[in-house]
C-alpha cells in the first residue's frame, strides 16, 4: 500500500475535483427546486450528487464527510420517495446542508477540521426533517446503504481512475457481492404463470423526453441493461403516438412500464438511469401484488387478440434490437388505471433465459460502466490539465507574439516588404499567431457559473444574518471569463453582494410599505459587451440616499460643504477611501473596508466599476473587465518622445487638430469641438510627467477615448505609429500601481512600452482640478 502512495494521492485529488463538480450540480439542483422544480428528476440529481460524494468520501475514510452526507442523503431519499414534502423551510435547510457539505469537502481536502458545531447544527436540522416525516423502517434501510458505500465508490470513480486501476480494482474485489446468484433464477421461468412474490422487484415507469434522444441516448440500451439485472417484462405505451402523417420524428411518444424482478437494490437500477434522469420521467417503486396482477392481465390480453406485429414505429424499434429468442409475446391491453385511449400496440417482452445465475454482479457494474459511456456523449468530452501547463503555453504564445512583431519590424527595416511572397507570408504568420493566441485564451476561459454559485451562498448567509428575505437571480452564467479574473473577482463580488443585501435592500416592512414584494432580489449578471466582460450586481432596494451620502462625505471632510455635485458624482463618492454609509457598523458589511477596496481590486484586474442608482428602484454596480489579462489590441502612439500603447477598445476616433478646432475654457482647460459636443483635451505628454504642458496643440493628433461614465475625453499625442496586438506584462511585481498606466508591453524592437489607462489619466487630471465638466453638449 505504501508504494501506492502517489497514485492514491492522485485519485484523491481527482475525487476532490469531482466533488467540486458534484457540489455544483447540487447547487444547481437546489436552485431549480427553489424555483419550483421539486420534481423527481431534480431531487434525484441532488440525491445523486450527495450520494456520490458520500461514496468517494467513504473510500478515503473521510468519516465526517460520510456521516454528514449520509444524513443529507437520507432526507433527500425521503423527498424522492415523496415521504417528505419540500417546502420553503425544508429547502433552506437543504441549502444550508449543501453549504455545510461544501465546507466539509474543503476541510477534508485541506486536511483541516470543519466546525463540528455548525455541522452538527445542519445535521440536526436535516434529521428533524425526516424525524417527523419518515417512517422508522427507512432509517434502517439507509444504514444498510451506508454499509455498501465502498461499492458505490468503485462504480462512481471507476472511469476516473482508469489509469490507476489497481486501487479501484482492489476495491471492487472486496465488495460484498450483492444479490445472490441463482436465487432469482427460478423467477425467470415463472414469469407468466406465477409471478414472484411482491417486493422482489420493481415497477419502473420510464418516459424519455425528446432531449434524451437528442443527447444521443437510446432507451433500448437502457432496457437491455435492465434486462440483464433480472427478469423483465415490458409494457410499451404507444397511445400518445399520433398518426404517421402528424408524427414529429424528433419528438418522443413512447413510454414504458417495466416490471423487473430482481434482487438488485433500487439504487442499482437508478444508476442505470444516471445519465438520462434529467431527460426522462422515471419512477421506480417496489413491485406490488397489484402490479403483478396487472401483468397477468396484460399477458392474458395478449393471448386473446394478437396484435399485428410492427404495429408502431416504437414497437418496431424495440423489436429491432431484441433478441427474438424468448417467447416474445405481443400484448394489447390497458396501459394503466387511467387507461383512456385504446393503446395501439403494447408488447410484453420476456427476458431471454440467458445470463441468469452467474455474473449477475458483474452485469450490474458493467451496466453502470456502459451507462457512463452513453452519458459521455451528452457532455462534451473534456480533459483536465494542470493550470501550470496552460500558463506556460500562454507565456510561450506571448513570446511568439513579441517575436512575430520583431520579425515584422526587421523585415520592414530591411526593405523586404516589396517582395510579395514575404509580405503575404508575414501577414499569414500574423494571422496564425493571432489564432493561436485566441485559442489559448479560450483554454483559460471558464464560465462564471462557479463564481455565481459561491455568491448564492453569500446571499443566503448574509440575508440570514440581517434577517431579510433575499433571492439571488443570476443571468449569463455561461459567460466565459479568464480563470485568473474569476478567482480575483470572488472577493470584490462577495463584498458587493453583502453590501447589496445589507445596505441596498430595505427591511421587509419598509418594502411592503413601498408596495414592493417583501422578498428582495439581488441580480448578478454576466455578459460580453464590445470586447469586454461586463458583470453587474444590482438590487431592487431603495437606491442610494444621495442626501445622506453627501452629508457623510461633508462630515468626513471628503468634499467641501458647498460643493456642487451631480447625482453621478455623489454616487461615486461611495468609492472614496474611508467612506461607509452604514450609520452603525453592522456585523456583515462595513468592517471598515469600503467600496474603495472593491474598486482597487477591480482596477488590479484592469477593470473598471461604475455605479448607477435610481431612488426607490435600486442600485446597480457594473464591473467591466478585459476579456483576457494576457493580450490586447493596442494603438502604438508617440508622445513626448515616448512610445506608448493605448488599448484600442477605448479609442473611438482619431483626428488631427487644426487651430480652429480648439476652444479655451477658463485659464487652462482646452476643449475640442467634435461635431456638436465639446470634449476636454488632455496633454498626454504633460499628464504623464514627460514634459511641461504644450503651448499649442495645433497640428497634434488627438485620440478620442470613451470613458466608463459615457463621457469622452481627448488625449493629445504627437503621432500614431502602429496598431497591433501586444502582450500584457504586469508592472505589479515591481511597482504596485503606477497612475495612468495599466501595464507594460514589449515592442518589436525589444523596448518596453507602457500600456495606458486613459480613464485613469483623465480621472487623475480631473482630480487635480475637480470643478471641471468634461462634456458640454451644445444640444443641451
Amino acid at each position: 500500500m505504501s508504494t501506492e502512495n502517489d497514485p492514491m494521492a492522485e485519485i484523491r485529488a481527482t475525487f476532490f475535483i469531482e466533488c467540486e463538480e458534484l457540489l455544483e450540480a447540487l447547487q444547481d439542483g437546489l436552485q431549480a427546486m427553489e424555483e419550483g422544480g421539486t420534481d423527481d428528476e431534480t431531487i434525484n440529481i441532488v440525491f445523486r450528487a450527495v450520494h456520490s460524494i458520500k461514496g468517494g468520501a467513504g473510500a478515503f475514510g473521510l468519516e465526517d464527510l460520510v456521516r454528514f452526507a449520509h444524513r443529507f442523503e437520507s432526507v433527500l431519499d425521503a423527498a424522492r420517495s415523496h415521504q417528505l414534502e419540500i417546502d420553503g423551510e425544508a429547502l433552506s435547510i437543504l441549502f444550508r446542508a449543501g453549504d455545510t457539505l461544501n465546507d466539509l469537502v474543503s476541510a477534508a481536502r485541506d486536511g483541516e477540521a470543519a466546525d463540528p458545531a455548525l455541522t452538527e447544527e445542519a445535521g440536526k436540522a436535516l434529521d428533524a426533517l425526516i424525524g417527523a416525516d419518515a417512517p422508522d423502517g427507512d432509517g434502517a434501510e439507509e444504514e444498510e446503504v451506508a454499509d455498501f458505500t465502498p461499492m458505490t465508490l468503485s462504480l462512481d470513480l471507476g472511469p476516473l481512475d482508469a489509469g490507476e486501476g489497481a486501487e479501484a480494482g482492489a476495491q471492487a474485489d472486496a465488495l460484498p457481492a450483492p444479490g445472490e446468484a441463482g436465487a432469482s433464477g427460478g423467477g425467470m421461468e415463472c414469469m407468466e404463470g406465477a409471478p414472484a412474490p411482491a417486493g422482489s422487484g420493481f415497477r419502473i415507469r420510464f418516459r424519455p423526453h425528446s432531449a434524451l434522444f437528442a443527447s444521443g441516448n437510446e432507451p433500448l440500451h437502457l432496457l437491455r441493461l435492465l434486462d440483464e439485472m433480472g427478469t423483465m417484462t415490458t409494457l410499451c405505451h404507444a397511445e400518445d403516438l399520433p398518426p404517421l402523417g402528424e408524427m414529429d420524428c424528433e419528438e418522443s411518444y413512447l413510454h414504458w412500464d417495466i416490471f423487473l424482478e430482481t434482487t438488485e437494490e433500487e439504487n442499482a437500477i437508478r444508476e442505470l438511469f444516471d445519465f438520462v434522469e434529467d431527460v426522462c420521467d422515471l419512477t421506480i417503486s417496489p413491485l406490488t401484488e397489484d402490479d403483478m396482477a396487472e401483468l397477468v392481465r396484460h399477458a392474458e390480453a395478449i393471448a386473446r387478440d394478437e396484435v399485428s406485429p410492427g404495429g408502431t414505429a416504437g414497437d418496431g424499434a424495440l423489436m429491432a434490437g431484441d433478441a427474438p429468442g424468448s417467447s416474445g409475446e405481443v400484448a394489447s391491453g390497458k396501459p394503466e388505471a387511467e387507461g383512456s385511449p385504446p393503446p395501439s400496440a403494447q408488447k410484453t417482452r420476456k427476458a431471454g433465459g440467458r445470463s441468469v445465475g452467474c455474473g449477475r454482479n458483474e452485469g450490474g457494474s458493467k451496466a453502470a460502466g456502459r451507462g457512463k459511456a452513453s452519458g459521455a456523449v451528452k457532455a462534451k468530452p473534456t480533459v483536465r490539465v494542470d493550470l501550470e501547463r496552460i500558463d506556460r503555453l500562454v507565456n510561450l504564445v506571448g513570446e511568439l507574439v513579441i517575436n512575430q512583431a520583431m520579425i515584422s519590424q526587421s523585415v520592414e527595416k530591411a526593405g523586404l516588404l516589396t517582395n510579395p511572397e514575404i509580405d503575404s507570408g508575414l501577414s499569414e504568420f500574423m494571422q496564425l499567431t493571432r489564432d493561436i493566441q485566441d485559442s489559448v485564451m479560450m483554454i483559460r476561459a471558464q464560465p462564471v457559473k462557479s463564481l455565481f454559485q459561491r455568491m448564492a451562498r453569500i446571499v443566503r448567509e448574509s440575508a440570514a444574518a440581517v434577517g431579510k428575505n433575499v433571492r439571488l437571480r443570476t443571468e449569463g452564467e455561461g459567460t466565459e471569463v479568464d480563470k485568473t479574473v474569476i478567482e480575483n473577482l470572488a472577493d470584490p463580488l462577495t463584498h458587493m453582494i453583502r453590501n447589496a443585501v445589507d445596505h441596498g435592500l430595505e427591511p421587509p416592512e419598509e418594502r411592503m410599505a413601498a408596495g414592493k414584494p417583501a422578498q428582495g432580489v439581488v441580480t448578478l449578471s454576466a455578459g460580453h459587451r464590445s470586447g469586454r466582460v461586463v458583470i453587474t450586481v444590482s438590487d431592487d432596494g431603495s437606491g442610494i440616499n444621495r442626501e445622506r451620502v453627501r452629508q457623510i462625505a461633508i462630515d468626513k471632510g471628503l468634499i467641501a460643504e458647498n460643493a456642487e455635485l451631480s447625482d453621478n458624482e455623489i454616487d461615486n463618492l461611495l468609492f472614496l477611501p474611508g467612506f461607509s454609509t452604514a450609520s452603525e457598523v453592522s456585523d456583515l458589511s462595513g468592517r471598515g473596508v469600503g467600496m474603495d477596496v472593491v474598486r482597487s481590486a477591480i482596477q488590479a484586474l484592469s477593470g473598471r466599476i461604475t455605479i448607477h442608482s435610481r431612488p426607490g428602484e435600486g442600485t446597480t454596480f457594473t464591473i467591466s473587465l478585459p476579456l483576457t489579462l494576457a493580450v490586447l489590441d493596442g494603438m502604438v502612439v508617440e508622445a513626448a518622445g515616448q512610445t506608448l500603447v493605448v488599448p484600442l477598445n477605448t479609442i473611438s476616433e482619431t483626428l488631427t487638430l487644426g487651430a480652429r478646432d480648439i476652444r479655451v475654457l477658463g485659464p487652462e482647460t482646452r476643449m475640442v469641438q467634435i461635431r456638436d459636443t465639446f470634449v476636454q483635451l488632455f496633454d498626454l505628454g504633460a499628464e504623464m510627467g514627460f514634459r511641461p504642458p504644450l503651448e499649442s496643440f495645433t497640428g497634434k493628433v488627438v485620440l478620442l477615448v470613451a470613458l466608463e461614465d459615457e463621457s469622452r475625453a481627448a488625449l493629445v499625442i504627437d503621432g500614431i505609429v502602429d496598431q497591433r496586438q501586444v502582450v500584457i506584462k504586469g508592472l505589479q511585481d515591481t511597482f504596485g500601481r503606477v497612475p495612468g498606466v495599466a501595464a507594460a508591453t514589449i515592442l518589436g524592437d525589444g523596448k518596453i512600452a507602457l500600456i495606458l489607462d486613459p480613464a485613469d489619466i483623465v480621472a487623475n487630471s480631473r482630480h487635480k482640478a475637480p470643478n471641471m465638466q468634461a462634456d458640454l453638449s451644445l444640444a443641451g
Binding site: G398, E399, I402, Q642, T643, E687, M688, G689, F690, K729, G730, L731, D733, T734, F735, G736, V738, P739, G740, V741, A744, I746, G750, K751, I752, A753, L754
Partner: protein
C-alpha cells in the same frame, strides 16, 4: 538582518564590488543574477526620480534604480561604461544602475565592521557593513533597504 550579513557570519563571503561615483560599494554575489550593459529605459510616469524606468529583460519587465541618485549623490553621469547589475532581493528582480563593476572580493566575517553609529542615526545610507580591501573602503549595500518598492509603499 540581511542576506549579506547572514552569509558573512558563515566565515567567508564573496562580494561583487562596483563603483558609484567615486565610492566603492559591494553586494553579496549570491544575490547577483547578471550584469548587463546600459540600454535605454522606458521612464515610468510619477515614479520617484531614482527610478530610471523599466527595461526588457528577456520578456520580463525589470525596474532600473539609479543607485547614485538613490544614495543621495545625484543622478548618475551618463557614460558607455555604465552597467546594470541585476540583483534578486526578496522575490523580485531589480536592476541597479552603477558606474562600473570593479571586482569580486572574498572577505571573512571578522573583516566586516558595522557602519559608524552616527550614520545609522542620521539619514539612511543603505549600508549594512564596511570592510577594507587593499586600502580601499568598500561599503556593503543593504539591498532590502535600497529597494524602491518598499519605499513607494511607505510613501
Amino acid at each position: 538582518m540581511t542576506d549579506t550579513e547572514d552569509k558573512a557570519k558563515a566565515d567567508q563571503t564573496e562580494l561583487l564590488s562596483f563603483r558609484v561615483g567615486t565610492q566603492e560599494y559591494a553586494v553579496d554575489i549570491m544575490t547577483v543574477r547578471e550584469i548587463r550593459g546600459w540600454t535605454n529605459a522606458t521612464p515610468l510616469p510619477h515614479a520617484p526620480p531614482f527610478v530610471r524606468g523599466v527595461i526588457n529583460l528577456r520578456g520580463t519587465v525589470l525596474t532600473i534604480v539609479d543607485l547614485s541618485d538613490r544614495l543621495g549623490m545625484g543622478p548618475i553621469e551618463f557614460s558607455e561604461r555604465n552597467v546594470i547589475i541585476v540583483v534578486e532581493a526578496g522575490s523580485q528582480l531589480v536592476g541597479l544602475l552603477v558606474d562600473a563593476v570593479s571586482d569580486i572580493l572574498t572577505v571573512s566575517a571578522e573583516d566586516l565592521q558595522p557602519p559608524p553609529e552616527m550614520l545609522t542615526e542620521g539619514p539612511r545610507t543603505f549600508v549594512s557593513a564596511l570592510t577594507i580591501v587593499q586600502e580601499r573602503m568598500v561599503r556593503i549595500l543593504d539591498l532590502d533597504a535600497a529597494l524602491p518598492a518598499t519605499e513607494i509603499e511607505a510613501a
